[in-house]
Subunit: 281 residues, 3 copies
Amino acid sequence: MNDQLIKEIMSEVLKKIEKPIGKIETPIKQVVVNKENEKYNKQSLVENQSNKQFCLTEFVDTAIGDTIGLVIANLDHSLHEMMNIDKKYKSIGIIGARTGAGAQIMSADEAVKATNAEVISVELARDTKGGAGHGILILFGAEDVSDVRQAVEITLNDLNRTFGDLYINEGGHLEFQYTARASYACNKAFKAPIGKAFGIIVGAPAAIGLLLADTAMKSANVEIIEYWSPAHKTSHSNECVTTISGDAEAVKQAILVAREVGLKLLSMMGGTPISQTTPYI
Amino acid sequence: MNDQLIKEIMSEVLKKIEKPIGKIETPIKQVVVNKENEKYNKQSLVENQSNKQFCLTEFVDTAIGDTIGLVIANLDHSLHEMMNIDKKYKSIGIIGARTGAGAQIMSADEAVKATNAEVISVELARDTKGGAGHGILILFGAEDVSDVRQAVEITLNDLNRTFGDLYINEGGHLEFQYTARASYACNKAFKAPIGKAFGIIVGAPAAIGLLLADTAMKSANVEIIEYWSPAHKTSHSNECVTTISGDAEAVKQAILVAREVGLKLLSMMGGTPISQTTPYI
Amino acid sequence: MNDQLIKEIMSEVLKKIEKPIGKIETPIKQVVVNKENEKYNKQSLVENQSNKQFCLTEFVDTAIGDTIGLVIANLDHSLHEMMNIDKKYKSIGIIGARTGAGAQIMSADEAVKATNAEVISVELARDTKGGAGHGILILFGAEDVSDVRQAVEITLNDLNRTFGDLYINEGGHLEFQYTARASYACNKAFKAPIGKAFGIIVGAPAAIGLLLADTAMKSANVEIIEYWSPAHKTSHSNECVTTISGDAEAVKQAILVAREVGLKLLSMMGGTPISQTTPYI
């Protein structure tokens, strides 16, 4: 009976302490807080300006991947000069994240298609909170703050989609991104030809990423645009990143085959790689 | 009764296994061991040279942030050449850490003010044990080992202060440093004007750091000295680092406003950011 | 009785949840899966081609340090060009890992001695899954796929040996590698003189690595080949890496003294540093 009891309790305890591996911890508390604030703010906007709103007009929202969106209506003059940003961008929008890069870039690409904001810069940190990949800093610029705010909002809202083909397990990660028509964010970050179908194939550790590059190139008639490896262009992340362009069907086909192979290979290094949201390609 | 018992045990267990997030794990065991050794060594120094002392005259002490202090009385000749260090520095003092950079640099700044040691080099690793920031390697140089030892000791002893305005939560971190009179460590690391009030403002993820830069510049009449971002000067950390100089009150004011905004923003990405010791600014 | 029971259960629970610090988590599940597949494949090979074998002829095996070995029989033409690899290497072998660098390079060194494969490139990522060091990507090249496959296999099989002098605790890590006769992998990665005794000395945080460099140079008549620090050549890892060459006995002696000092120093920053397998030097 004693043993039975112990077993029972142990199973209870272990259920509570077992962390699922491979899922980015969504900052639940934060989301709840935001949602509450949002509601609160919406209510209070009717009545009067809420304290939070007033103090932090620059804050837009947070999203998956420890992503935060901010806006600065009038960038300080001396900082503007120090950052070497074109003078025409009075307002800037900021997307920052601890995890990701491809996802945020692809979502930012949708944002520049839909707004008057332009992409000023894309910088990749070495991050992912101890993982093998990047974090990111994207700057949008416009004359008017409403344009960059809209760009930031569209990007944040689109992230649930673009995190769909990010797969993680304890061994590493895979990322796939696809667009039928690349725009200026993909061009700034990866030299994607504007207006053409474009895909991003990432594997970590880099060994897997390299094999996926080879797999993709052999599975369809696509053009290789860039190839990044730990010592070249990746901020020393443990990834190979391959970008491809060409006919829409061909790009998609190349990605799908690479994804199939990637999921098999990465599962050799741990459990089944888990999509962060829902695959979209 | 069974259920009651289970609840009781669970609460006990969970109390034991819950790790506080946002506090750097001070290596407790190590500190205890050191203190014991110290006592032991002090005792044994009266009687005879303890084994530990004899073997590791180079070891000075450890401190917060997984920081270690070492000295080399006579740096090996061929290593000296390989490191391209000025010949006049026969002895070198070493500060190394897994977490931090600003804190160690600011404490080293106090050390060079108070000793004959000079700062040879400041190198920033991409570290913080899976966090978004840096680790560090600082070298002091002097003709005499007692000078570099003193510099190392002062630095280590000052770290409890300079870790006071380092705030961490699961989303990222903030760091603020202030001195009324910058010296050669701040100058070497950040080009701080010698003898003038000087401040360091760090935010991670970088998006927050950039907004803090803008906030600081707008809140007081200060001069921007440097602006670092993931792709520029930060060893690919996910930070923006801004350094400012000017009138003492203005520099302090700029930091205090940035700190207030930073704590609000970072709390949007997780729990309340926690000071590592006690705020000093 | 209640208290006694709680104590009993607590001890059971804590036994289960306490993770040993300092030991790389060998991907046990994966190894088991592989071994099972291997067995299965060997059986099925007699009867018919197994599904797994068919889909992933490129997969060789995994090993300690989250290492994976792959081969590509005919590297895609446009990728080949993009990677700027010599045309004579039709086939490439790939070693990739999340943890390590020295170990994989030293094992690859044995592989090139024993096969017709050559080392095309060695790239060091900033990784170790949140630790202070590197991950790696090594490429072998040959005209024939059997040559690169053999090189990959030899490397993977040798890793249990070369992980023997990798010591880890919560403060950092130490790594020591020794060969009586360096070959082309050590030469490509560290400029080791071919055919001479060669040693690698790594300490993290970098402060310890620097002291070990000094210790090694003073303990035997060896020549310093390279000295790496966070800002120079290390992909911003928090390590100092020193490579030495000379008479076999001298190189060994220098490493052994550095190892002794390193283990003492690193234990000041945490628990006893633990060898990942069995020391071999």
